[in-house]
């Protein structure tokens, strides 16, 4: 029961964070003007979800996060869902082989996820026959997106772990003391 509650709370937290992240991606001009590309905040969230949750949460995050992204973009509806899902499932599949508690490992996984997700999205868009702006200058933008995604991944772990701790209290540890096993001192 406790496990289900923790999972549901974490899923809700992740979906809420994804919603706010997509809003920031669209409405916050500062990083876009500074870096020349919008911050892509969903791949770092997906890395967190892949390490900390199960397939259901990963699918929900990919589905809703992708739809949120496409709703505020000229992307065809649904193109961002599949790349996020593939990235999430791949990391989840190999999560036991990755040193996930180390910041540098999180950075590398975040970097790869943030590089793979936009590239796969772009491939799907091109497969659908749409013309985009992606040219040689996009290679630079892609590298910036991957690097910022990598840097944001350890930060997202730190923030979401802290938020999850406050949202759901940890399991109560039962003491080993038992009244029936108390040593009675005195005369018998």
């Amino acid at each position: 029961m406790k496990e289900i509650l923790i999972n549901n709370a974490l899923t809700f937290l992740l979906l809420l964070t994804a919603f706010v992240a997509v809003f920031l991606q669209a409405a916050w001009d500062f990083p876009r003007n500074l870096l020349g590309v919008p911050l892509n905040l969903l791949p770092p969230l997906m890395v967190f979800a892949a390490f900390r949750t199960g397939v259901t949460t990963i699918s929900l995050l990919a589905g809703l996060g992708g739809l949120f992204t496409d709703a505020l973009s000229a992307n065809p509806l649904g193109v961002s869902m599949l790349p996020l899902l593939w990235v999430g499932l791949a990391i989840h599949h190999w999560r036991e082989l990755i040193l996930q508690e180390f910041a540098y490992a999180r950075f590398i996984v975040g970097f790869i996820a943030s590089a793979a997700a936009p590239l796969l999205t772009l491939i799907i868009i091109m497969t659908l026959g749409k013309r985009t702006l992606a040219g040689w200058a996009f290679v630079w933008q892609w590298m910036i997106m991957a690097l910022t995604g990598g840097l944001l991944t350890p930060l997202s772990f730190w923030l979401l772990d802290a938020a999850a701790e406050r949202l759901v209290p940890g399991p109560v540890v039962r003491p080993s003391f038992r009244p029936d096993r108390e040593i009675k001192r005195g005369r018998y």
Partner: protein
């Protein structure tokens, strides 16, 4: 070996994606507008926060600077009033001449101001979102401009918000005219391999084009979307392409859309 749960989730998402990709365009636009509507409270909050910040900043501006600004604005207002009178006279003269020649009467364009509330979440499109929609009378294909010149046209329009497709996006082509030479061409998209988002390619110029850097580019009025005479930008350079069959030029857009916070939508 993938677990069964993974396969099921991939299959469900693939199915969902296929359904979404094959939806009729109007249905997809409506679903997008519906999902985008969920963000409206956050956009409202952001706008309110911006207003508070702006009023806080203006409260700290010294009185002397405000008075100087007021004096400048009054002087500018007087100049503009004189120009408006001249413009109105020119319009009346234009109407009289059109009547004499029996040409079709031109209806004046109306303007509605809008606030930019979001920009595209993807790096491979050049669009932004404004806070006017169908309830304000907007429809797809209306010209959008700022003080410096044309920036694009309206795309998908929802009830309270609209997408603006900016010049440079592959879905916004503009028929233009180089004022100094009278040559016509089409603005296609952003120039390849450059990092300056204000540089766009001007194509379909004649083979022996005489365009030179610094010459000004205006809308030609051809194509029916944009009225003639809206400033677009200036020529940066030109080159012969297609084994000398035609000329292409690069145009630096007059408006910097990365800092745009308010735009004007033109209504016929």
């Amino acid at each position: 070996m993938l677990k069964q749960q993974h396969l099921v989730s991939v299959a469900v998402m693939l199915l969902l994606a296929m359904v979404l990709f094959n939806l009729p365009e109007q249905v997809a636009i409506r679903i997008k507008a519906g999902i985008g509507g969920l963000f409206l409270p956050l956009f409202g909050l952001a706008a309110a926060g911006q207003t508070v910040v702006d009023s806080g900043v203006s409260a700290t501006v010294p009185r002397r600077a405000l008075l100087r600004e007021l004096a400048n604005t009054r002087a500018e207002n007087q100049q503009l009033a004189v120009r408006a009178m001249q413009g109105e006279e020119a319009l009346r003269e234009n109407e009289r001449l059109r009547q004499l020649l029996g040409w079709q009467k031109q209806s004046p364009w109306n303007i509605k101001l809008a606030r930019v509330i979001a920009r595209d979440t993807a790096a491979w499109w050049r669009t932004l979102r404004i806070d006017l929609g169908t309830r304000d009378g907007l429809r797809p294909g209306l010209p959008v401009l700022v003080r410096e010149g044309l920036i694009g046209k309206t795309g998908d329009v929802a009830l309270t918000t609209s997408e603006v497709i900016l010049i440079g996006d592959p879905n916004c082509r503009v028929a233009v005219l180089v004022r100094e030479t009278g040559e016509m061409g089409v603005l296609l998209g952003m120039s390849e391999g450059v990092f300056d988002h204000r540089l766009v390619d001007l194509s379909h110029l004649p083979r022996n084009s005489s365009v030179k850097p610094g010459q000004t580019v205006y809308t030609s009025g051809l194509g029916g979307v944009f009225p003639a005479g809206l400033p677009v930008g200036t020529i940066v350079d030109s080159r012969s392409v297609g084994y000398g069959l035609y000329t292409e030029a690069r145009v630096r857009l007059a408006a910097d859309t990365s800092k745009t916070r308010e735009v004007a939508v033109l209504f016929p």
